[in-house]
Amino acid sequence: MRSRFLAGLVLSFALVVPGYAELAEAAAAAPPDSLRSLPVGKGLPVVVRMGLRYVEVASIDETEAAYTATVDLRLRWQDLRLQYPPESAPQGFLEFREETAAAKMAEIWTPAISLSNLSGEPSQQTHGLRIFPDGRVEMMLRTTATFETPFEVERFPFDRQRLQVEVVSRRESVQRLSLEFEQDDLDFSRAPDSSELRDWAPGVVSLKRDFVNGWYGEDLSGVTVSLAMQRRAGSSAALIFIPLLASLLIPLLAIWMNRVEEGEFQIEAFELANVIVGGLFAVIALNFTLNAEYGTLGTSDNTVRRLFALNYLALALSLIVNLTLFRFNLPMRWFGRYVQEQVFLFLSWAVPLLVLATAVAFLLVAMA
C-alpha cells in the first residue's frame, strides 16, 4: 500500500511539471547500495538505448508550430542488481503495467528522461516495464501530448517537416548516462501505420544524438527523434497558389487592356489606375487572409512571400507604365510616337513573360 502511494506520488509529480514528462527517478537521493541508485555494475556511463514509435499523429498546427501525437518511448538498459533465476519468468521476462509498473519503478532505478519539447501537460501517459533474467530492463512510456517542433517553410508547398520529439537526460551528465540507439532501436522507431492527416504524408523516422547544456557546464545526453512529414502540395495549390497567381494577372491586365494607334493610347490612364488600385487591395486582402491562416508563412522567406513580393512588384511596374506611358507619354515626348508605340508593344508581352517566368522560378526553386 505504501509503495503504491509512493509510486502514485512520484508519477503525479512527474505529470504536473509543465513542459516535461519526466520519469520517476529517485537516484539522487538514494544510497549507493539501493536499487534506486545508478546501476554502475557495468561501469559508467550507464548506456540507455532508446527508440521512439509514432503511434498516431492527430493534428499539425503550423500557426503554433506544434503537433499533437501519441508516441511510444522505449528505454532499455541493464541493471545487474535485478538479475533473477530464469525459471521465475516462464515467458522470459517479468512484466509490469500501469500501477504495478509505477510501483516497480519506484523501487528500482529508472533513467530521468524528459520529453523536453512538450507543450503543456500530456493528455495521457501510461507505463510498462519488463525485467529480463539477466538484468535487462525495458521500459515503455506511451504519451499523448502536444509537441513543439520547428517549422521550416522555405520550400512551401513542397516542404518536408520534421515532427520532433526531444528526449533528454534530465539529471545525469553524459559521463554518467548516455542515451544511444542501434539498429533494432531504429527498427522500433517507426512512423504511424496509417495517417488521418489529409495534407501530410508520413515518411521515415530518424534519430540523432545530441548534447544539451546542463548545470555547472555539464553536458546532458539527448536524442532528437524526427518523423519526416511530406506536405501534399496539391491541397495548398488550390487554397494559396491559384489566388496568388490569379492576382498576378491584375497588373498585367492593366497593361493589356490599353491599345495604341500611331503612338496614341486609346484608354484613359485613370481607368487603368483603378484596376491597379483594385488589384492592390485584392493582394493586401489575400496577404492578410493567408497570414491569419498560415502564420508561419508570414515569418520567414518562402515561396508564398516571394509570390506576394512579385505581386506588389508587378503592381508597381504596372503603375509606372500607367503613369509614364498612358498618363504623361514620356517616351513620346522624349523619343517620338514610334518609340512609345514600340515600348508599349514590348511591355505588353515582356512584362507578363518575365512576371510569369519569375513565378515559375519561385516554384521550381521550392521544388529543388
Partner: protein
C-alpha cells in the same frame, strides 16, 4: 529579305545565343564548384573511414599487447593451464565485451592452433592456419600485426601479438578482435554518416563460421548478391542506397543516389585482410541534399536571369530598330508616295522627334512638298514632240 522582320530576328537570335551560352558556361562553372565540394566530401568520408579503422586496429593491438604482457597470463599460457588462463582473463574479457566492443579473444599455439577462446572457452584445439594467415605470420615472424578479418563470431578488427614465457621463449600468440558495430555507430554519431558492412557470404559459409554467428545475419533480407549485410546503422536507408550491382562493381566506388527522397553521397570501399584478400565492403553515406538543392536552385536562377537578359536586350533591339528607324522610315516612305501621287497637303508630323538622319529625309520631303510647281502647259510642251 524584309529588313523590318529579318534585322530584329538576327539581332535577337544573336543576343539569345550569346546569353544562353554565357548562362550554360556559368552553370558549368557552378556545377564544377558543386562537384568539387562533393568530391571533397567523398574524400573526407574515405579519410574518416581510413583513420578510424586504423585507430580501431591500433586499439585492438594495444589491448592485445597489454594482455599478452601480463606475467600471470604468460605464465598460465606457458604452462598450458587453460583453466588458469580463463580464470585470469574471463572477467577482463567480459568487461571489454560489454563496454568496448571487444568481440573475440584467443590464444594460439604456433602456427595457429587454438588454445583458448575467451569468447567460447569450450571450443579449442582446432587448426586455423588455413583461414587465419595473420596468426601464422605473427607466430612465424614474431612481431605484432593488425587487420580486418573474418573469424570465430564473424568479421572483426584484430590485433595479434606474439607471446613469450618468462624466459623470453616464444610460446604462441594472443589475438583480440573488436566488433565493427561500435566503430560504425561511433562514426555515425560523430559525423552523421550512415554505414553498412557487407561480408562475402561464401567466406562466412565455407569456413563454417556460421555456427558462431547470429543466425539473423544469414537471412534473405540481408543478402545483396554475394554479400551479406553484417552490420548497419540504418538498414532501411542503406538497402535503398546500395544495390547488388553496386557491390559487384569496382573495389572503390562513389556515387550520388536518392533514398527516402533525400540525395546521399555514397562511398563503397573494399575491406581487405592482412593477406590482401577482399573480405567484404563497407558502404558509407552522407546527406548531400544541401549541395544538390543549391545546384538546383542555381540552375533555376541562372535560367531566369538568362531569360530576363534575352527579353530586355530584345526589347532594346525592337525599340531602337523599329521605333527609331523602321517605323519613321515607313512613315516617311508613305509621305513620299503621297508626294509622288501629287498630294502636297500633308507635312511630316513631329519631324523634330525623329533622329538626325531621319530629320534630313523629312526636311528633303518638306522641300519637295513646298517647292513651287511648273505650269502644266510648259510641261506638256517639253514632253510633246
Amino acid at each position: 529579305m524584309k529588313f523590318q522582320r529579318s534585322a530584329p530576328r538576327v539581332l535577337i537570335f544573336s543576343v539569345a545565343v550569346v546569353v544562353i551560352g554565357m548562362a550554360v558556361l556559368s552553370n558549368r562553372l557552378f556545377s564544377g564548384l558543386t562537384s568539387a565540394v562533393e568530391q571533397d566530401q567523398f574524400e573526407l568520408i574515405r579519410a574518416l573511414w581510413s583513420f578510424n579503422l586504423t585507430a580501431a586496429e591500433n586499439r585492438a593491438l594495444e589491448r592485445a599487447e597489454m594482455i599478452a604482457a601480463l606475467p600471470a597470463v604468460r605464465e598460465a599460457f606457458a604452462a598450458r593451464d587453460r583453466e588458469g588462463l580463463l580464470a585470469q582473463c574471463a572477467e577482463m574479457f567480459k568487461r571489454q565485451k560489454e563496454r568496448y566492443g571487444v568481440d573475440q579473444a584467443q590464444f594460439h599455439f604456433p602456427p595457429a592452433v587454438s588454445f583458448l577462446r575467451l569468447h567460447a572457452p569450450e571450443q579449442h584445439g582446432d587448426h586455423q592456419d588455413q583461414f587465419r594467415p595473420m596468426v601464422v605470420a605473427v607466430n612465424r615472424d614474431l612481431f605484432s600485426r593488425k587487420e580486418s578479418a573474418i573469424a570465430g563470431t564473424g568479421p572483426a578488427i584484430f590485433g595479434v601479438t606474439p607471446m613469450t614465457d618468462a624466459a623470453g621463449r616464444h610460446i604462441g600468440s594472443f589475438e583480440l578482435g573488436m566488433n565493427f558495430g561500435p566503430l560504425l555507430h561511433a562514426l555515425k554519431a560523430a559525423y552523421r554518416l550512415e554505414m553498412a558492412l557487407f561480408i562475402e557470404e561464401q567466406a562466412l559459409r565455407q569456413l563454417m563460421f556460421a555456427e558462431g554467428l547470429d543466425p539473423d545475419v544469414l537471412t534473405e533480407q540481408n543478402r545483396r548478391g554475394k554479400y551479406i549485410k553484417f552490420h548497419s546503422t540504418n538498414w532501411a536507408l542503406m538497402k535503398e542506397l546500395v544495390s547488388e550491382g553496386d557491390l559487384s562493381g569496382p573495389a572503390e566506388a562513389q556515387y550520388i543516389r536518392s533514398a527516402q527522397d533525400v540525395p546521399y553521397g555514397v562511398v563503397l570501399l573494399t575491406l581487405y585482410n592482412n593477406a590482401g584478400n577482399p573480405i567484404g565492403k563497407v558502404a558509407m553515406a552522407r546527406d548531400f541534399s544541401s549541395s544538390r538543392a543549391a545546384a538546383g536552385r542555381s540552375l533555376v536562377w541562372q535560367g531566369l536571369l538568362a531569360l530576363s537578359g534575352i527579353v530586355l536586350l530584345a526589347g532594346v533591339i525592337l525599340i531602337v530598330v523599329r521605333g527609331l528607324l523602321l517605323r519613321p522610315l515607313e512613315m516617311l516612305s508613305q509621305q513620299f508616295v503621297k508626294l509622288a501621287e501629287g498630294r502636297r497637303d500633308q507635312p511630316v508630323a513631329e519631324a523634330e522627334t525623329l533622329c538626325d538622319e531621319m530629320q534630313a529625309l523629312a526636311q528633303a520631303h518638306e522641300r519637295l512638298r513646298t517647292k513651287p510647281q511648273p505650269f502644266a502647259a510648259d510641261t506638256d510642251k517639253e514632253v510633246s514632240p
